[in-house]
């Protein structure tokens, strides 16, 4: 397998155009996962908000990953409005202090943080679900963008646009390189992303079902067991939709959304805050409560059948993409 280059592999200094996105429903995207992805030739992002209650623990995690890999990794800074600026400042300080090689931002416009992000002087990728947010971040000076379709797990955006459309569309709309996520787990996915004009594949669920990911084994097993049509798209009523594994909890939430609207949903969700929901800390992803917890996974969970070491996941993806693309390129459409 020869070396594969895109503007995103060049930007981060990585071997393969494969990104493990920041995931923060409980402890998910920790040093164990991001180091394994980096060591295997991709780049992984650790979500800083996993340690929101305890900033020194984030510093410990950065030290830990540096012991585990000498390859690039990144920190995801989720720009939630309800988080005070002082916390963001402390995270940016740690990124600078430890010379973290890359930063991913997400959740809202990076504009209020622009000077602070730029001052870090490291490669910066911003993640969006809407085309206009991507165009704006491109103009603000992000080095790269990630666009995700509504099939992804976690927060797929309220517009419900599919990857097949927003992927090639954002590529058309911006000059900076674009990573594409939502629906991908294998070499066919990487090949399709490159065919759409993307310069890296962005994955979450596939990396959850890896040996190194610290989530509970029951959650990994639930990903293997699920079908592709067994996710729910919840919390649209309060304008912050989440795609998660269909279970008793998501069905209950959907019922409340339908019967009681935004107000009732907000009240119900607030009532859950003490039970491991909300930002930071341990959640059902870590305790393995796959019926009463919210387990964010993408539709692509229905295509994942094996828990593999990260290196094998990445090697398999690259080998399959190579085979698929070479086979297709050998066909000549016009000269047939």
């Amino acid at each position: 397998m020869s070396f594969f280059k895109t503007r995103i592999t060049e930007l981060f200094g990585i071997k393969y155009p494969i990104i493990q996105g920041g995931m923060a429903a409980g402890f998910v995207s920790t040093a164990e996962l991001a180091a394994a992805v980096g060591n295997a030739g991709g780049i992984g992002f650790m979500c800083a908000i996993q340690w929101i209650q305890d900033v020194p623990k984030l510093e410990d995690e950065i030290k830990k990953i540096k012991d585990m890999t000498d390859k690039p990794f990144g920190i995801n800074v989720t720009l939630f409005t309800e988080i005070p600026m002082s916390w963001f400042d402390s995270v940016f300080e740690l990124i600078a202090k430890h010379k973290v090689p890359a930063i991913e931002t997400s959740a809202r416009s990076p504009e209020p943080f622009l000077a602070k992000i730029k001052a870090l002087g490291v490669p910066w990728i911003h993640k969006v679900a809407r085309i206009r947010d991507g165009v704006k971040a491109g103009k603000l000076g992000a080095d790269a963008l990630t666009v995700i379709g509504s099939e992804e797990g976690g927060h797929p955006g309220a517009e419900r646009n599919a990857t097949s459309v927003v992927g090639p569309l954002l590529v058309d709309m911006v000059d900076v390189p674009v990573a594409i996520g939502g629906g991908f787990c294998d070499g066919r996915g990487l090949a399709a992303v490159l065919a759409m004009g993307g310069e890296a594949v962005y994955m979450g669920t596939r990396f959850c079902a890896s040996k190194e990911c610290v989530i509970h084994p029951k959650v990994k097993q639930a990903i293997l067991d699920m079908n592709y049509n067994e996710t729910d798209y919840i919390l649209m009523a309060i304008g912050d939709p989440v795609r998660a594994l269909r279970n008793q909890r998501t069905q209950k939430i959907l019922e409340i959304e339908q019967k009681e609207g935004a107000e009732g949903t907000m009240k119900f969700m607030s009532g859950l805050l003490g039970e491991g929901f909300g930002i930071g800390g341990v959640t059902a992803m870590n305790t393995g409560d796959i019926e009463q917890g919210i387990i964010p996974v993408g539709m692509v969970g229905g295509r994942i059948r094996e828990i593999k070491p990260v290196k094998q996941i990445i090697d398999d993806i690259v080998a399959e993409a190579d085979a698929v693309l070479n086979k297709l390129a050998a066909r000549k459409y016009l000269k047939a």
Partner: protein, 327 residues
């Protein structure tokens, strides 16, 4: 370029047109087939055997290439069994090359007698499905291929809401018969991506509205170019038939009817298939539902079918050879 689809149908490009009420008439159908793809003649626009047969003959006067006839077997659209039988008889007698079938699979219509008759007549049968379960069923009962329709498509995506990136490869893993990707397909990069996901071709519908050969009011084409990927919405779950349509006054009324529990009878007057002349012929975009897919956001210009198909295939070929040479 050859795929199992082009080989099976004897077409130049792996690009087919989906059924479209009040749009997929003989002229557009023949233009797509002449351009190297597979055009579509949508049967529900005709009331009996003779009128459909006449339309099929009209296509045949315009092209000697194969084309699809679409038959959608849905109780909700108000076509009875006798009319469906008349369609099948016309298709068999006129020796149509291939059919796009939606809704009820043919084995469950009249005990499967027309499934056998159509197969005996050599008509290649493709079923449009939104789930792997339905795709497997189509394969088991003898269909020649399936169209994997992602939730991003216009028209009537299955309410399992699975997107193309997941549905197509999942279908390819489970089926031996060729899979055509529908939903989100619009340009050469769509085709290249669908082939990477394992499809043997793509189906487009919305994109073909913005061609010169589509007989439609120019306002429609202008509106589809102006509007963005995020300006469609899913409706119809309360009446058991999900659809995707352009956001306009009519869909807002339908959503409102659905919200307060109004039924099909209240919604029907707003469906474009029943009251479409205001939109398609007169260009008044707020006089009914306009069933278009999210791919609308990728349409930037009106072109001829020949330019469109040549460009798509050329772009796909370039993309694949550029990308693969990097490995």
């Amino acid at each position: 370029m050859k795929t199992r689809l082009t080989e099976m149908l004897g077409i130049r490009y792996p690009i087919v047109c989906g059924g479209m009420m009040r749009l997929a008439y003989p002229k557009l159908c023949a233009a797509i087939s002449n351009a190297g793809g597979l055009g579509n003649l949508t049967s529900a626009m005709y009331t009996d055997k003779e009128s459909l047969a006449a339309a099929i003959r009209e296509v045949k006067q315009l092209t000697d290439k194969p084309f699809f006839v679409n038959v959608t077997l849905l109780p909700a659209i108000g076509i009875g069994p006798e009319q469906y039988k008349a369609y099948f008889d016309a298709i068999i007698e006129e020796k149509v090359a291939a059919m796009e079938i939606g809704g009820t699979p043919l084995d469950r219509f009249e005990g499967g007698v027309y499934l056998r008759k159509l197969k005996d007549a050599g008509v290649k049968l493709f079923h449009k499905v939104g789930s792997v379960k339905h795709g497997k069923h189509a394969e088991e009962v003898g269909y020649d291929g399936v169209i994997a329709a992602g939730v991003e498509e216009g028209g009537h995506p299955l309410n399992e809401n699975v997107a193309t990136t997941v549905l197509t490869p999942r279908m390819v893993e489970e089926l031996k018969i060729p899979v055509i990707t529908a939903g989100g397909m619009c340009n050469g990069r769509s085709l290249a991506a669908a082939l990477c996901l394992g499809a043997e071709g793509i189906l487009m519908a919305t994109r073909f509205i913005c061609t010169y050969e589509c007989d439609v009011h120019d306002n429609v084409r202008k509106e589809l170019i102006r509007r963005q990927e995020n300006e469609t919405v899913l409706y119809g779950n309360t009446i058991g038939l999900q659809g995707r349509a352009l956001i306009n006054d009519s869909i807002r009324k339908v959503m409102e009817i659905e919200k307060r529990g109004g039924g099909l009878d209240e919604i029907l007057p707003h469906l474009a298939g029943f009251h479409g002349d205001g939109i398609w012929k007169e260009g008044d975009m707020d006089t009914g539902l306009v069933p278009v897919g999210q791919s609308m956001g990728l349409i930037h210009e009106v072109v001829s079918c020949q330019e469109l198909l040549d460009h798509i295939v050329q772009e796909a070929e370039e993309v694949l050879s550029n990308v693969s040479s990097k490995f």
